[in-house]
Symmetry: C2
Amino acid sequence: MAVTAQKIAELAGVSRGTVDRALHNRGRVNPEVAARIQKIAAELGYKPNLVGQALVRSRQGAKLGVILQSTETPTMQIVQAGVRRAADELRASGGEVLLRELRGLDDELLLESIEELVSQGIQGLAITPNNTPELRQCINELHRQGVPVVTLNSDVPGSRRLCFVGQDSYRAGQTAAGLIAQLLPAGSKVLPITGHLNNTAHNNRLNGFLDTLLQEDMGRIRLLPFQPCFDRDDYAYEVTQHILRENHDLAGIYVASNGQAGVCRAVEEEGRKGKVKIVAYDLNEPNMRLLQSDSLGFVIDQEAFEQGYRPPYLLYEFLVHKKQPVRELLYTDLAIRTKYNSDLSGILTPFAEQTAWGKG
Amino acid sequence: MAVTAQKIAELAGVSRGTVDRALHNRGRVNPEVAARIQKIAAELGYKPNLVGQALVRSRQGAKLGVILQSTETPTMQIVQAGVRRAADELRASGGEVLLRELRGLDDELLLESIEELVSQGIQGLAITPNNTPELRQCINELHRQGVPVVTLNSDVPGSRRLCFVGQDSYRAGQTAAGLIAQLLPAGSKVLPITGHLNNTAHNNRLNGFLDTLLQEDMGRIRLLPFQPCFDRDDYAYEVTQHILRENHDLAGIYVASNGQAGVCRAVEEEGRKGKVKIVAYDLNEPNMRLLQSDSLGFVIDQEAFEQGYRPPYLLYEFLVHKKQPVRELLYTDLAIRTKYNSDLSGILTPFAEQTAWGKG
DNA sequence: TTGAAAGCGATACCAC
DNA sequence: GTGGTATCGCTTTCAA
């Protein structure tokens, strides 16, 4: 059995209360006594029992808020599943998670939802933010009020958020470049497709991609000028079709944004399936189908589930055990996936129910 | 605040103790009363608070044993790091993990170590087993005694282990095949290298690899007969050198076992670096260096850290909360990695220390 | 068959 | 400054 505060109290000849105050520097304790207690604790390697801590903190009950935007997209639905799972698990430990799911991107609605959750007394917040000055201000204000905020999926750099959980977009671009450079012979022509021209994440991916191909690959791959598709499959289709017809030697397409389904369709309709390698992002249901049908060769995954699952836990740990995240930027893993190492089961299916009585 | 046993007791007009016995079917409770209590619990969606449960169970204290073999290998050292992390975390929740690290594979030593740990009173055990009849018997005997066993990294199929945590070898082979099929043009010559001829995991990888290339790729890749290298770099070097000299058009090498460093060296010395694509397994320090130097194009990762980290938690959950693993075979993720999406930091470096006083 | 009470470990509060 | 005590939610005795 590990060493407890009680044991230290006995050894120091004081009460548990005094030990607690001494070790946590809460004051109101004789400096000499405090020193003695801390020495004993150090020698015994005392660590407070987290279960005991959690139990006492559960008096106030950790009430968390999560707001997701663009919940109509396949990837955000995986993020959602992650949040739900965390919410379920935390509920079993006395936590409470209020989840708001917003369709589309709407800064005003987001700010309203935050206010609503705050008025309901949440002690921590996780959001998929828009990178606007208003939101940055809002995050900083929450920080000032003692409400920690975790950004997920996209970040608000420089704000006083507790941390960010999501993809390292630049590295995601590099990874795609490294893959394509190995996939295609020297001199191959590649078309990069991006989304909105002002989407930071997509731009970072593109930069990582271009930098890597130009610098490290030393220009062995011939890059066509990148084309925006505004995250739309129909535009992506049109652009791809056009470029394919003009470049009969096109060997690869890099899709930094959404639109991969349109790209795949164009490639198939032009009879170039298999000849033109396509690399896109995210492991979700539609992409899974594209992988299975060999329309899409590779996706680079961003662990959407983890992006939803982790933040509530980070907030809980911070609130209940005062534990800071290990880093400010918690980048999710970048797995390269083909149809053979992709699996969504166990993520989208309802997970094993815990011991519960009734509907739960 | 979530619904507690106390609340149910009040609503049912009984005491907490009765509620507890009724909900857990411990008997000694009037059937009618039990029914009423269960109905109320179901309606309220009662779930016992895990923190409360854990605290009371901590009276007995969960004492776990972990035995790792081949700890001299780079990958097992990552597994070790995972075990250590879990041990640290569980200690903070009142758990205790006894870790035995064995060099090499030695069934006898393994069985001795198990006995030793059992005699020290462990209530659960995790091991990297050898697939021998003696060990299977030992696992079954432990099961009979009520000591759950988790196999990790390698399995003992058909034994009464609680579950297995590790790679799906067949799928790992398929993944390599899918990658190589996309990497190389039709007609490319590929050499498969394997380890010991009786290593089940390596054989399964090879089977997955061959099946996939022969069936799904429809023989577009020309396969050379596979060569064993007995997990040794020197043999792998020799074999590779020989084959390279006989096949000036060799386009790829698939390494299902250890030996990749020897393979890479041979390829470089023959001046074929970059021309011959190499796919191997595991993200560990030596492979990381091979990736960085572009000697190795891809590795397929098996989440060694997770293989060490998960089992203690599975045992803890099983012992403390009676929670069964979701599946019997818990396969780790198969991420395809290049130098751009590989990262070992945060795994091998000591992780952020928790609030502690002194040496810990 | 049931209730009352102790106790797991840590913390908060209130007397002294 | 300090010790005592109640408390978190649950399980487990021990009495009744």
